[in-house]
């Protein structure tokens, strides 16, 4: 079994795992960070989105070994202490979630979206969010939250 090491939310982590281990399972089962979800396991739904090297990826479609040595960010790493990340705060304020299952992936995708499209309008946000599926909200409040989150992030 290979030993896999990477940085997750700023902390160095390491575990001996089966080479087939997907990044999402490494994060959930080996590191114990269960905020990152598995919805579909087939790169459709975006519940598993994390950042690797600052870019959003679907962690159900990446081997943990591919992230060897990488800088990984998950939903748990966004807040500073009790203070939510501006995108998390915007989701809370605009009711951008109902059951919350899609939310960690939505927030991680939203941050990448805003980093790449500062000042994105509603149409761009809707289009760029096509890798994330929500079965509850109808997306309306998610889009509102991202627009507000973008301005809170200074974009």
């Amino acid at each position: 079994m290979p030993t896999i090491s990477m940085t997750v939310n700023g902390n160095a982590v390491s575990a001996d795992v089966d080479v087939r281990t997907l990044l999402v399972h490494f994060i959930r089962d080996n590191i114990g960070l269960t905020g990152t979800h598995v919805g579909c396991d087939t790169s459709q739904c975006g519940a598993c989105v994390v950042h690797v090297g600052g870019k959003s990826v679907k962690s159900c479609t990446m081997l943990a070994v591919q992230a060897e040595g990488a800088d990984v960010a998950t939903i748990e790493g966004l807040a500073s202490g009790d203070e939510m990340h501006p995108m998390q705060a915007a989701f809370k304020e605009h009711h951008g979630l109902q059951c919350g299952f899609c939310t960690p992936g939505m927030v991680m995708s939203a941050i990448d979206l805003v980093n790449n499209n500062p000042g994105a309008d509603e149409a761009t946000i809707r289009e760029q969010l096509d890798g994330n599926i929500c079965r509850c909200t109808g997306y309306h409040n998610i889009v509102k939250a991202i627009q507000d989150g973008a301005s809170r992030m200074g974009g």
């Binding site: 290979p2 870019k55 479609t61 790449n116």
Partner: protein, 264 residues
């Protein structure tokens, strides 16, 4: 997923050695297709040779009237490259309509071409632009590269290292997305090149192909109205739950007209 031996070579030479030493090895690029088929048990390679650690396979260069893109360059990198946007804006814009942002951050040019999905976008670009595919063994003209359904001219263990796209005078790609998968229901790439007008269609049949009828009509008169009287035969086109062959045939014409309009 079956187990495999994992390799992460740092050079093209080491990767070639790893694959030739393997029983039934496969290259791993962005994994956006390969990991999915391995999960389904449709592929069970003995060895995975991860190309992610080879710096020589990444990057974009514009020189001698062509844009050369390393095989491991992601769709997002092609889309956001100022060099590609400047030299062949149609190619940058094609990269922006592949899958979703997360797929574009992982999926690569080389992986997409080696896989040659019948509804993938890049196969249309290499055919219409008359690109040259460079492998670790030779150079292959786009017209010879696309062979059949998921079939290319690549031999066992042969690695795409880069793809060189000659700069067209005008080009545009128009895609009608299958809304659930985001692959092309039909995509048409139109280019005015030094060798004349080239038109390639993806999504419509078993593999991307040149559309001679459209090339001829546009060769005589490069305008949307030149296609008014053209009929695309439905014979041999795909028919499935998403669209009939007749519907796809009509879409080929509609997307071609929109692409010519976008050429301005």
């Amino acid at each position: 997923m079956n187990s495999f031996e994992y390799h992460r070579p740092g050079s093209v030479t080491d990767a070639a050695a790893a694959i030739s030493g393997a029983d039934d090895g496969k290259f791993l690029a962005g994994g956006q297709t390969l990991l999915a088929v391995m999960k389904l048990g449709l592929a069970a390679p003995s060895d995975l040779v991860d190309l992610g650690g080879i710096a020589d396979l990444k990057g974009i260069q514009v020189k001698g009237g062509a844009v050369t893109i390393g095989a491991m360059t992601t769709h997002a990198e092609v889309n956001s490259s100022a060099d590609v946007q400047g030299a062949i804006p149609a190619l940058a814009s094609l990269a922006s309509v592949i899958g979703d942002r997360q797929v574009r951050n992982s999926g690569t040019l080389g992986g997409s071409l080696a896989n040659n999905d019948p509804a993938a976008d890049y196969p249309a670009a290499i055919l219409a632009l008359g690109a040259t595919i460079t492998t670790d063994k030779r150079q292959i003209a786009a017209d010879d590269f696309i062979v059949g359904l998921f079939e290319t001219a690549l031999e066992e263990g042969e690695m795409i290292t880069s793809v060189s796209f000659p700069q067209p005078s005008k080009a545009a790609y128009k895609k009608f997305k299958q809304p659930a998968s985001r692959f092309a229901l039909v995509g048409v790439f139109v280019a005015q090149t030094p060798d004349g007008v080239r038109v390639a269609v993806t999504g419509a049949s078993s593999h991307a192909h040149r559309a001679e009828v459209l090339e001829e009509a546009l060769g005589n008169d490069f305008s949307p109205s030149a296609l008014d009287s053209v009929t695309i035969p439905a014979d041999g086109l795909n028919s499935d739950i998403h669209a009939s062959a007749e519907y796809r045939a009509n879409l080929v014409k509609v997307m071609a007209i929109r692409a010519v309009e976008a050429c301005g």
